[in-house]
């Protein structure tokens, strides 16, 4: 296949671990620290371990610790700024080195030098494994480079349809509503046959001034309200109520000679003053 597969991972090995003099190698490494830097002490250790050219599981951690410490010494001599974690690692490796060199102290607690070394080897191996699979991953056929998706993708159209519905009952009810609207109005129609007390009072206030003599209150009924019995009843009641109201206001006097006799009304003398 073609070259675009040049990989981001090929740079992972910035220098080849050719057999060189230790001095040369350290100088080269120091230079790299200066220029590129390693990605932390573990990265540096992994790079150093490559010089041993053995399976990472059988690596000599002791030798590795020596190399690292030598590297740090060299870096210091070159007055390179070393990050704190490099120095922490140096201290830890110095400790590890002493543990590995000295016979184990049975009274001492904690992990043995071998355990610590094994774990370091595991960490290095694991990091290396991750780098290897990362390279394999990046080397795979990739979408948009080696294989391709449909170029002219048809978007799925989202159609939102609104469907209106109505039932026959809705229709019938709707129609009935229109056609019976007039029958809902009869309230208004009924009101036509009602002569309210307010109306009566207003009418009588206008007329009372002329009622100097006793007059049958039925003569105060509005015109045309004395024929239809329903209207007559309403007008009579409201006129009577209005008369009482006028008496209460002291504007009129009422009298009735006997049971079911005519009710007569006249204005009070005082109100003329």
């Amino acid at each position: 296949m073609t070259d675009p597969k040049t990989d981001e991972m090929t740079e992972q090995d910035p220098f080849t671990p050719e057999p060189q003099s230790v001095a040369d190698r350290l100088a080269a490494e120091a230079l790299i620290v200066d220029v590129d830097g390693f990605e932390g002490p573990l990265d540096l250790l992994l790079t150093l371990s490559r010089t041993q050219k053995v399976d990472l599981r059988r690596i000599s951690v002791l030798q590795l610790a020596r190399q690292y410490l030598a590297f740090v010494e060299q870096a210091k001599a070159l007055r390179l700024e070393l990050a704190a974690d490099y120095l922490v690692m140096a201290a830890w490796l110095a400790f590890l080195k002493s543990r590995l060199l000295l016979p184990p102290d049975p009274t001492e607690d904690g992990p043995s030098g071998e355990d610590l070394a094994a774990h370091l080897a595991f960490q290095l191996e694991r990091l290396q494994a991750m780098r290897d699979v990362a390279a394999r991953l990046m080397g795979r056929d990739r979408l948009g480079r080696d294989f391709f998706a449909r170029g002219e993708s048809q978007q799925v159209e989202r159609v939102r349809a609104i469907r209106y519905t109505a039932t026959l009952l809705d229709l019938m009810q709707g129609y009935a509503r229109i056609r019976t609207r007039d029958e809902f109005r009869p309230f208004v129609m009924d009101r036509d046959k009602v002569f309210t007390m307010e109306q009566a009072l207003e009418r009588m206030r206008g007329l009372i001034g002329f009622a100097g003599t006793w007059t049958d209150i039925s003569s105060y009924l509005p015109e045309g309200w004395d024929v239809d019995p329903v209207k007559w009843r309403s007008a009579t009641a409201s006129t009577f109520a209005a008369s009482l109201e006028l008496v209460k206001e002291g504007k009129a006097e009422l009298r009735q000679s006997g049971l079911f006799a005519l009710i007569q009304l006249r204005r009070t003398e005082r109100s003329r003053d």
């Binding site: 170029g151 159609v159 609104i162 469907r163 209106y164 809705d170 229709l171 019938m172 709707g174 229109i178």
Partner: protein
């Protein structure tokens, strides 16, 4: 399957725009015959979910037209018709053919444009023949879709029609002194009332 056919297939698939035969030949290794490969490829896709289609003087792969329904997802939302629409529909059903002015007269309010448009769009009503009255106004009648939806054989089957007629409620008579077309002037005021009910359908 010929290697050339595979190549044409892959290029047509991945290309965002139709590809001409010349372009295909350009992209394929020297000595390939894209035109011939296209003939085979086209044949291979006959009757399939995807076609090799000619677009001007170029070629493209397209989904089969009969499957276009798969390219859209439809969500259907059911809504009740507004009261204004139901009343208008009912009047048209019972009084067809009926003019807009007549509908307004019966409803007592003017009919908003949106309401009629909505019913037309639903294909529940359609235009009938023009009335032979001054201005030759269009009339509305209900459609077969309407009858289907309400499970009616004909508008005559509308329940209660006979009873309503017997009661004189279907007597379509203009109010005394009013011209049947007189509703137009009240339009603005009445529409304001109407929109209250059919707010959803205004445009």
């Amino acid at each position: 399957m010929g290697e050339q056919e595979r190549m044409v297939e892959a290029v047509l698939f991945a290309s965002a725009t139709p590809v001409t035969v010349a372009e295909l030949n350009d992209r394929m290794p020297h000595g390939c015959d894209a035109a011939e490969a296209l003939v085979h490829l086209r044949k291979r896709y006959e009757g399939r979910g995807v076609h090799v289609a000619r677009v001007g003087d170029a070629w493209a792969m397209r989904t089969a037209p009969d499957l276009s329904f798969l390219m859209q997802t439809e969500t259907v939302e059911t809504r009740k018709l507004s009261r204004a629409a139901i009343e208008t529909l009912a009047i048209i059903a019972y009084h067809a053919p009926v003019t807009r002015a007549e509908i307004e007269e019966i409803r007592g309010v003017s009919v908003s444009r949106g309401t009629v448009d909505q019913l037309l769009e639903m294909e529940w009503i359609r235009f009938g023949r023009r009335k032979m009255t001054p201005g030759r106004p269009v009339t509305f009648v209900v459609t077969q879709d309407f009858l289907d939806h309400f499970g009616l054989e004909s508008a005559r089957d509308l329940p209660g029609l006979k009873e309503l007629r017997a009661a004189g409620l279907l007597d379509n008579r203009p109010p005394p002194g009013a011209m049947p077309q007189g509703g137009e002037g009240d339009m603005d005021r009445d529409e304001a009332i109407d929109t209250g009910q059919s707010e959803l359908f205004e445009d």
